[in-house]
Symmetry: D2
Subunit: 330 residues, 4 copies
């Protein structure tokens, strides 16, 4: 029996999930799709309103890829309708709202998975498994570099929740995932250095965030909204027994040597190219866990924790000092 | 309108093509499949005999993935039935038989493409385009390393046509593809060094083949049936303006540094992992060319030329000296 | 005419300078050497007390490689004796004392160079020159990883001035060198994670330090006293036009592929192997500048600035927040 | 006691040896130097005629770096004078002449070492030791790429003995060194593809040489007189248990990522930069073996064997087929 899925939101990410489920995941099928636009609907699929998807009697699980400010509402509606949920990050920009939603999820006993797709990237999974096998020993420092090729549009930026909630949140989750420990303090240095659209949105575009974990170990994340050479996604984990790192993925691995230097390809351009496989693996994991009644690999609680670090980073920049997670003003 | 395709042979390669066409190539559909076994047939597909596929009135193109000794017959039957053909390499082990088949193909005016899938690998395409753009200048030397992780079964080896016709034939085609020039002479040094199944089959397992091109430039290919570390597929092109090379693809790009060294992943295990994307790109190119009435990117003539080099290499080992292609005994 | 040099202190670093000057720098000669031990003195060299070196009438420049707590005294004595000075870092553990010494140096008009040898490493010079040529554009973030293979002895640690003054000071100077800008704020997260000798010394062994520059750009430095895989010295510079990084130097560049992975060599073991060439280039630059009457490539002021950042980092750990350089308590 | 050395010939290579012995090898000293030019003689060294060096009563060993056509004569004179000899390759262009010289060397019982400096390169030594430790298993194929950045002068080419005797001879020795086995057959494909000075000299500039060893294993060497991107010196060894390779050495290991690609440095320019350390290690080995009465690491017989392969390669090109070493016409 295939898992019957409804999708809400068929933008960039929604389309990735739609294609993965319909073309590559034989254990699931898309029953219905909701989107504000219905001009580009795929053949063979019922297009409808969000509540039709949520209340469709055959649909067992809903994939939510609509704008952030609708996430909490849809998740709660799904929970009340007894549907399992896969929701893109973040659940909401407000920690209070996230907590309310998680309470509803828990009351209704549905499964909720947050779309931290990078956990399913082959490179990062490899580092996580080296940590898990004890190859790194006690982990002392995790370093994450995460830079976008170019900033999003002004409109996007204005509704994004800012650099930390929109972009770094992936890295906050990744730090917790690799470390398998909890963050206790956050310090963020940040600036607006690229000018242009980010300055117009009143946001920051460059940041260095230090996370301190419960045992004194640290993670450091550097973000930029604009890397001239493309999408930069690297990670390093250092501990008592060794160190492991992953470099970017490239479209090919040629090197061209000529009279003036040796040249190779740039990293894969952006998240759709870089994380193609991780989106598929993520959705396979969701389908498998829901069908099997297993625990989901990324929980709603994981989403709350990453969001709390993001809020702490915002406060750190505002206050000019480190913020203890317990003191985060929600 | 989708291109209507029939498939003959649903072994390892046939299954790759079947999945690619049904899941990823929206411009084509599989109408019917023939295979000697019908126990594992995919749902939604008609399973039949080869001649039913060939003579099916709706089928426009046939993909032939059956054993080598059936290739020439099926291609000729397809040609006479007016069906375009995609055929796995080699067309036949006999140059005379290949020539007969190509004559039928030409008479009937159908399109025939040989399955030299490596031409569609992103790495090798990149090197070819560097050559095409003049970045390498006049090409002086091409170097190809092509090693399998382990030898095939004794049964396979006994019907394979030998190392050169079965395995090196891909590299002979690749040398011609990168060079865009014709080979005039072949010298092969070869030995049976791994023992085991290859020795039992009376075949060679290790070879270094030097190809001389019409302008004096050279290609050198080294092959092995058994590389302890996996599937090794590298290429280098050297010319008057520079040099370009490609390394193997790996499942991830981590490096793990510990007290005793720095460790990274082995190459992707075998052709199904290494050339996943090239099989898809290859079939997309076939479908597009047939639908658009364009010239196919790999011709039957390309298949004949690679096979002729393979026969020359066999003769070179037997005679103990270089063989001019014009002197190849067919 | 050769520059006549005296050396005070013939420990590990002093011996490097002694050998470089006597064997490889033909424009200079060592006239006299002072050391507390005189059992292993090289042939052909006069062994003496520090004041004999400083007051030797023929000696034009003194190379000071004695323990840190003697640096300021010897520099001042040299200054008063009209001798130019090359002094290993740091000038002193006290900022006040460093300032006094620099005042004497200025009054006496001698040249003083601090031994920040890493500025003369081919890798870091390459990154600095890319910045200088505008290839990086406006620099937004510098990242430095600097880890030792193993902690020094307890005795050494107790007189070292702590991680920041002893070890990170090189990285603080490097950040200023690459950026060519001044630091305004320092935040340091730190812990004692390796236990053992560092814990016994009451010092920290692991730190992540964020430097904020006058224009809002940032540097982040991660240090460890103990990396199981050896000496780790990497640097990355990121800006509006691109990014450049350097990896560690290795004793050879082999890769060995076997059935269980691909293995390569570890980084060069420690600073004597890693920075062999930089020590020579550094001393050549000193000799050349003194002989030519040019400005020295690393000034006493550079030493003061790096030490002030180190003190700020110490205070940041103590206070639990970022320290503005202007507020550093001396 | 220092080993007392005389040097004959103070050209490029002679100067390297002179500097290494005088500056870095404390166990030896240069007593006298002979050269046709005496305008640039180093200070503190006696400049003289070759026979004065050879017959100097204090000199124990002679380093011969004069033109090739003087090597055999000088070696024989040294042997008769009871002096140990380090001689640059090749001993002579004629196999007969080399054999005569080796007979004299043997009669007189002196030690003779040939200047195959690449055996002392850290990269190649690493590969040799992996083979020696059994990490590669039975060696099946060795691959050597050896390309110069630009051809030498017409005059040099006319006296060089041709590509195989002048340039490939290093690679022939390297193949024997790594394999630790003897060559039985040689096939060389070659052409003149760069035009210019090599064509004017009537020589070849590009070659692919296949060596077959006694057990059927193979080596393949590709040479070019002109690589636009510099000096290319790579080696790979493949066997039953694994494969190891070494890449070129570079002046630094930076990578610069910008909007149009990722760029890194070219290999070290030419043999003086690439093999700096190997020349020193080689001479240290010579001095140590002579002083200790040990066997020399490269024998006169090694020189003869490499030269015989070179002659076989020449004959292979002339005859258009493989040459068995036993059939080499001397």
């Amino acid at each position: 029996m295939q898992l019957k899925i409804g999708i809400i939101g068929l933008g960039r990410i929604g389309t990735i999930h739609y294609n993965n489920i319909t073309q590559q995941i034989t254990e699931a099928e898309v029953v219905m799709v909701a989107d504000v636009r219905n001009d580009a609907l795929p053949a063979h699929v019922q297009f409808a309103q969000a509540d039709q998807v949520i209340n469709h009697p055959e649909i067992e699980a809903v994939v939510i890829c609509s704008p952030t400010d609708t996430h909490a509402d849809y998740v709660e509606q799904c929970a009340r309708a007894g549907k399992h949920v896969f929701c893109e990050k973040p659940l909401d920009l407000s920690l209070t709202r996230i907590q309310q939603t998680l309470a509803v999820v828990q009351q209704q006993g549905i499964k909720l998975m947050l779309g931290f797709n990078r956990r399913f990237d082959a490179n990062f999974m490899k580092l996580r498994s080296l940590v898990g096998e004890g190859k790194i020993g006690d982990v002392h420092v995790v370093k994450i570099t995460s830079r976008d090729p170019a900033p999003p549009s002004l409109t996007y930026l204005q509704h994004s929740g800012g650099l930390f909630m929109d972009m770094s949140i992936h890295d906050f989750d990744m730090a917790r995932y690799i470390m398998n420990k909890e963050v206790v303090q956050v310090y963020a240095a940040a600036a607006t250095l690229t000018g242009g659209v980010v300055a117009a949105a009143g946001d920051i575009d460059t940041a260095v965030v230090t996370l301190t974990f419960e045992d004194g170990s640290m993670a450091v994340i550097d973000n930029s909204r604009q890397a001239a050479y493309g999408y930069d996604q690297r990670l390093e984990v250092f501990g008592s027994k060794g160190m492991a790192l992953v470099d970017n993925n490239k479209p090919d691995n040629h090197v061209y040597y000529h009279a003036h230097g040796a040249q190779s390809s740039l990293p894969l351009h952006f998240f759709m190219e870089r994380y193609t496989a991780s989106y598929l693996t993520e959705m396979q994991a969701f389908v498998k866990a829901v069908k099997g009644g297993h625990e989901l690999p990324v929980s709603g609680e994981d989403g709350l924790k990453a969001a709390r670090i993001a809020v702490a980073a915002q406060q750190s920049v505002r206050m000019g000092g480190p913020i203890t997670l317990g003191e985060v003003i929600v």
